[in-house]
């Protein structure tokens, strides 16, 4: 195991975040604050509590998930896309590193960043609304699992993308809609029965539901299903990454 290589890639990527602090940390915090002002305070004050949880508090887990998903994907996809784009990938490919070490470095860094960001957003949220975390360990488990899974997903997008448009395509056209429709701002029980069924095909529902359960002990789907679905998605991403390195897809000719 080339530990030095994992560390080199990991710290290289983390340094990139520090260089772009404004874009990496400050901008998601500002946009989340705006959500709290608009949905939490302005609209939330006219909403009834959902499952005994005030609307402002209800949307906290969803908003953290929203940032976690989008940031994991954008961090990881950009992290691997950029070396491909400028050509510095030659060094990674010619280094004595295994696929696992490359992924551990890039995905580990992307996941770390989004976990830190998620925690910062939680703290920010606390300035706007009061909430408790009923199951802190489960909360962290979901945070880490989701960050990891979606960083892997982002890594795959970064490998697949051969131009900047494709890099933006999946997050914009698939992930953002799924997240908004995944119950960030509402309980899926508020939907008509037909749409409740459709929603169950949206993997983000399980993430948000499980994450919200760790806060308030209430969920749209059972905890076991949430964990199970998250792990399945993680396994699928791992399988795709494994295949990418085995076949050299978009990396080697």
């Amino acid at each position: 195991m080339n530990i030095y290589a994992i560390r080199a890639i990991y710290f290289f990527e983390m340094a990139r975040t520090l260089r772009t602090l404004l874009q990496s940390i400050v901008s998601p915090v500002i946009s989340t604050s705006l959500y709290f002002v608009v949905f939490g305070s302005a609209i939330g004050s006219h909403m009834t509590a959902i499952g005994g949880v005030s609307y402002g508090a209800f949307i906290v887990p969803g908003l953290v998930m929203l940032s976690l998903l989008t940031q994991s994907i954008s961090n990881a996809s950009f992290g691997i896309y950029f070396p491909k784009f400028v050509g510095t990938i030659y060094e990674i490919l010619s280094a004595p590193v295994s696929a696992f070490e490359i992924v551990a470095g890039y995905v580990g860094a992307a996941a770390s960043k989004s976990i830190i960001l998620g925690l910062i957003i939680l703290v920010t949220a606390r300035l706007f609304v009061t909430f408790e975390i009923a199951h802190p360990l489960w909360m962290l488990t979901f945070l880490v699992l989701t960050a990891l899974t979606f960083s892997l997903f982002g890594f795959i997008i970064g490998i697949w993308a051969d131009n900047f448009e494709k890099l933006q395509l999946v997050p914009l056209l698939i992930v953002t809609p799924l997240t908004f429709l995944g119950g960030s701002f509402y309980s899926i029980h508020m939907l008509p029965p037909f749409w409740q069924k459709v929603t169950l095909f949206n993997p983000v529902v399980y993430l948000i539901s499980g994450f919200r359960w760790s806060f308030y002990g209430v969920s749209d789907v059972s905890l076991g299903i949430s964990v199970g679905m998250t792990l399945i998605f993680l396994a699928v991403c791992l399988a795709v990454v494994w295949w990418i390195f085995r076949s050299g897809y978009r990396l080697k000719t």
Binding site: Y4, R7, I9, F12, V86, G87, T253
Partner: protein, 308 residues
């Protein structure tokens, strides 16, 4: 001695159907400077890329210091440093950080003293905190060399190291390559400048259209290069070379009209004056004469044209 790199029956066909390499066999000796010479698109970069693990081979195998570059890639790649042709750098990183990164990536523990030495050797020390995008092209190329040397490789690949580099830097680069060789590093460089191969290399390989058409010691090539030929057009054809001239390296053309004398242009006595006197004594008249010299360039151009 076991070759440091041995390429066996290596072929590469790209997905487009383009055959970039055709059954290349090549052995690189430990500690030598090997120049791979060839026109653009000959397969130089493909060959290097396969050895370094950037391109997958279609057939054949490569051993680097006895390690298969595909199956035993970790051991093989740890010994190799690569300076690619294109200047690809992380624009926003500092020189120090990018070189330190390379060392870690290649599995070596941090060694600031060594990195400092590499940067000083390459006259980069004063730029260590500069961001790469602020450096000139020549400086960037030095940084890429520093990155390739950061993990103390035994084998260094320089792909067109002096393409687009000014004369002064080119001299510096040559001096640096010689110093590296003196420290025991084996160097393989590609170039399409023949004078560069002439200046630097111990051995020269010529590659064209994916085929390795010549591998020879530079000294031997230079021998050929050092040789000159004097061609005499005779007034009347000869049946055979007269006995009086048997001591000379003379050849008579089939029709007996041309007498060719091969001599060492670098030698103290070329023997031309004496030969011409002897010819006069023997009563052999000639109507014209010319001398010619084959340069490495001629050899190269002829080789490449023959196969075209």
């Amino acid at each position: 001695m076991q070759p440091i790199i041995s390429v066996r029956q290596l072929s590469k066909t790209y997905a487009t159907g383009f055959q970039a390499l055709k059954q290349i066999d090549l052995e690189i000796r430990q500690g030598e400077i090997f120049a791979l010479l060839g026109p653009n698109g000959a397969g130089k970069t493909t060959l290097i890329s396969i050895i370094c693990g950037i391109v997958n081979p279609s057939e054949g195998m490569v051993l680097a210091d006895g390690h298969d570059v595909v199956r035993d890639y970790r051991a093989a790649r740890a010994k190799i440093g690569l300076v690619p042709q294109e200047l690809t750098t992380d624009a926003f990183e500092t020189v120090w950080n990018t070189v330190r990164f390379s060392r870690g990536l290649f599995g070596k523990s941090a060694n600031p003293a060594y990195v400092e030495k590499v940067l000083k050797d390459l006259s980069l020390w004063s730029k260590k905190d500069s961001r790469l995008r602020t450096l000139s092209g020549g400086m960037k190329r030095r940084v890429m060399i520093a990155k390739a040397l950061s993990h103390e490789p035994q084998i260094l690949f320089l792909d067109e190291p002096t393409a687009g580099v000014d004369v002064e830097l080119r001299r510096d680069m040559w001096a640096m390559v010689r110093a590296l060789r003196a420290s025991g590093v084996t160097i393989i460089l590609t170039t399409h400048y023949i004078d560069e191969a002439e200046e630097m290399a111990d051995r020269i390989g010529v590659i064209n259209k994916g085929e390795l058409i010549l591998v020879e010691d530079k000294a031997e090539l230079m021998n050929k290069l050092g040789r000159k030929q004097l061609t005499l057009q005779l007034q009347s054809p000869l049946q055979a070379i007269p006995a009086a001239l048997s001591g000379y390296a003379l050849e008579l053309s089939a029709d007996g009209h041309q007498l060719v004398y091969t001599f060492d242009a670098q030698g103290e006595h070329t023997g031309i004056d004496v030969l011409l006197r002897r010819l006069g004594e023997a009563g052999i008249d000639f109507k014209d004469l010319k001398t010619s010299q084959s340069s490495l360039e001629d050899i190269f151009v002829n080789l490449v044209r023959e196969r075209a």
